[in-house]
């Protein structure tokens, strides 16, 4: 990577920053350059870091100057005071008890507030209001009560026996021994007398209650299963019973995955395993258990200069007689793949055209086709998993794409994936080790052109995360138990970014529990 020459002026300005000689005019100009250009900002950060690092590296030999280093001394003094405090603290206080409630599961759960990334297992601090912007979050109280909140929602754990819901939907499952557990809403209070109920609170605090199993008591009235009631101030009135409107379960999805880092780096390099919720069951697979794929078609006509690319970890494999598609097919390396497969705004409704070479009379379908090394059986929940690299500055739910059958038949259809199960905001989505981005130097109409078109490589330096999504073949209209031999993938061309598959595989058939 070389810094563009256009940054000479910027370089001078940042030098003035670190030399402490920046004038107001220079400051203005610096601001202009930074506003205009993300590369300029990256250079600015890197230059400041270089300067600070040089300071730290040389700090060992430096004599502290009384005035300038005052800050450090205050920090040191504060640290000493804190340390004494810490000792006292440990002498007088026992270890921390089990938290009242923890985040048990998260499905794209997004909590409001900068940096408020809640990892699964994190404590839900009592008496703190948690605004859940989107997704589902399952809480587990230490007495065994579980509650599934669906965003947007605002809730607060008050203590072992009280959950406050100020807004939004939730369902509560009360474990034996915790009867009497109550959900408080702004206008009412639901006390559990059995096992399972659901609550929906609107902006005005009006509360709807549905009892699924057991009993619940609201304002002295006992509700039994199948009952739905809506409460404003005063009496409740009956509403239709409809539990589908409530988050009764956590969704089937890719729950998490595990990776191995690159040697000497913290970024992830190899996918080692994944956990998927299929039909309500959480199952963990090692990568070798998954069903591999073969790329059988690729077409992307975007013009030069756009990213039409394969990702590699090193030089182009085609230069040494290797295969580019192997980057997606053969390895569990998530720094490699065949990305930007092209696409279409409208999803396919007929069989894709996949000739090699392309027949000019019958142009090929833009996109990428993969064949599973053995058929994937359609079960409940995800049957295929797709991992995608996503720079953290790009859409946080991942790049949407269409999935279509390779061969249409009555009942079969395309399906559009709009959100990845693990988006860039998910604490479960890991940062990928650096990689090399190779751009094809021309449009590619078929697989053999993908293999032979010259590549131009650049190192990719924007922090990127590994996103994952499960694809349910039922969404393509396949009946349960159907054996599927492949799928067609197209970007939806909603923006300049295309889906970037770095790992794609089928899940093994489900064994009956």
């Amino acid at each position: 990577m070389t810094r563009p020459d256009g940054h000479a002026e910027l370089m001078d300005l940042v030098a003035a920053v670190v030399n402490g000689t920046l004038t107001p005019t220079q400051h203005e100009r610096l601001q202009e350059l930074l506003v205009a250009d993300p590369d300029a900002r990256r250079l600015y950060f890197d230059y400041l870091d270089l300067h600070l690092a040089l300071g730290q590296i040389h700090a060992a030999g430096r004599v502290p100057r009384a005035q300038r280093r005052l800050g450090r001394w205050i920090a040191a003094a504060a640290a000493a005071v804190l340390f004494c405090g810490a000792l006292l603290f440990f002498m007088t206080r026992a270890s921390k008890p089990e938290p009242v409630a923890v985040l048990l599961q998260s499905a794209s759960a997004r909590f409001y507030g900068a940096g408020e990334f809640l990892r699964v297992g994190a404590e839900i601090v009592p008496l703190r209001e948690y605004p859940l912007k989107a997704g589902r979050a399952e809480l587990r109280f230490r007495n065994g009560v579980t509650a599934i909140m669906e965003g947007p929602a605002v809730f607060e754990v008050r203590d072992d026996m009280h959950l406050r819901v100020n807004f939004g939907k939730c369902s509560v499952h009360v474990a034996p021994g915790a009867e009497g557990f109550a959900v408080e809403t702004p206008l009412t209070k639901i006390v559990d007398r059995g096992t399972r109920f659901a609550v929906d609170v609107d902006e005005a605090g009006e509360t709807e209650v549905q009892v699924v199993e057991g009993k619940a008591e609201v304002q002295g009235v006992v509700l039994t299963p199948g009952a739905g009631k809506r409460y404003s101030v005063g009496e409740g009135r009956d509403v239709p019973y409809d539990q589908r409107r409530f988050p009764m379960e956590m969704p089937d999805r890719v729950v998490r995955y595990t990776t191995a880092p690159r040697k000497g780096s913290t970024g992830a390099e190899t996918l080692t395993g994944l956990t998927v919720r299929r039909g309500g069951r959480e199952l963990t697979y090692a990568v070798p258990e998954l069903i591999g794929i073969e790329v059988i078609h690729f077409k992307n006509l975007l013009k030069n200069g756009k990213f039409i690319a394969t990702v590699t970890d090193g030089p182009d494999p085609a230069l040494s007689g290797g295969s580019r598609t192997a980057l997606l097919e053969e390895d569990a390396n998530i720094n490699t793949g065949v990305i930007n497969p092209g696409g279409s705004v409208t999803p396919l409704a007929t069989d894709p055209v996949m000739n090699d070479p392309e027949d000019p009379q019958r142009p090929n379908t833009p996109g990428m086709a993969v064949r599973f090394r053995k058929p994937v059986i359609n079960h409940a929940g995800p049957d295929v998993v797709l991992f995608d690299f996503q720079p953290v500055i790009q859409p946080e739910y991942g790049d949407p794409f269409h999935v279509s059958p390779l061969h249409f038949a009555p009942g079969l259809r395309s399906h559009t994936v709009t959100r990845f199960d693990l988006g860039t905001f998910s604490p479960e989505a890991q940062i990928i080790a650096g990689f090399r981005l190779n751009q094809l130097e021309g449009p590619v109409r078929c697989l053999s052109e993908l293999r032979t078109t010259p590549l131009r490589g650049t190192n990719f330096t924007v922090t990127s995360k590994l996103l994952a999504v499960g694809i349910d073949l039922s969404d393509l209209g396949y009946p349960p138990g159907a054996a599927v031999d492949g799928i067609f993938i197209q970007d939806v061309l909603d923006d300049g970014n295309q889906v970037d598959p770095v790992f794609l595989a089928g899940l093994p058939p489900l064994v009956k529990p």
Binding site: D12, Y44, R62, G71, A86, A122, P427
Partner: protein, 179 residues
């Protein structure tokens, strides 16, 4: 209700703070490119982080939380700072904050790369860095006495930093493959 500071041991704070304070300062310096300002706000932020430590969720990223608190302090600082101070506009501050928080994660790789690059310097270059970063007042004192001589030193220093930056770029970049 229990008093606010009961949840977490102060030792935990020291551990997190020690681990991240360099990055936190780097974050602040990029938002407030006048070093005394950055030091000022860093000081204030450190204290607030300690006071609010109980609000930090240990399962979340301490640095991200700290940067969030720091950003708020930066805005406070800018609001009350006198008009003639050098400061960035609100929009740029927000962009810088967001991108900086993300970029801090890769900082360690760059520091490691820099250390390799430093090994290749000759004695004259080492002396120059020594002068700038160890006896850091000496250039300022020189500037007060002899502005032109100081400018010459700054120019040499700027060129050297540029070279080190390019060397680090190359080392960090090369991890991904041969350029």
């Amino acid at each position: 209700m229990e008093p606010a500071a009961v949840g977490k041991p102060p030792e935990a704070f020291l551990k997190e703070f020690a681990l991240h304070h360099d990055r936190l300062f780097a974050y602040l310096f990029s938002l407030l490119p006048h070093r005394p300002d950055a030091e000022d706000v860093f000081q204030r932020t450190s204290l607030i982080l300690w006071q609010k430590f109980d609000q930090w969720d240990p399962a979340s990223d301490f640095l991200a939380w700290a940067c969030g608190v720091a950003f708020y302090e930066v805005r406070n600082f800018i609001r009350v700072a006198s008009r003639d101070r050098l400061r960035f506009g609100e929009g740029l501050l927000e962009t810088l904050s967001k991108e900086r928080t993300a970029a801090l994660k890769q900082r360690d790789d760059r520091v490691a790369a820099l250390q390799e690059c430093l090994k290749k310097l000759d004695q004259g270059e080492r002396d120059l860095l020594q002068r700038a970063y160890v006896d850091e007042e000496s250039i300022r004192e020189l500037a007060a006495r002899d502005g032109r001589a100081a400018q010459t030193l700054y120019n040499r220093l700027n060129l050297l930093r540029k070279r080190l930056l390019e060397c680090s770029d190359l080392r960090v970049g090369l991890q991904g493959g041969k350029a």
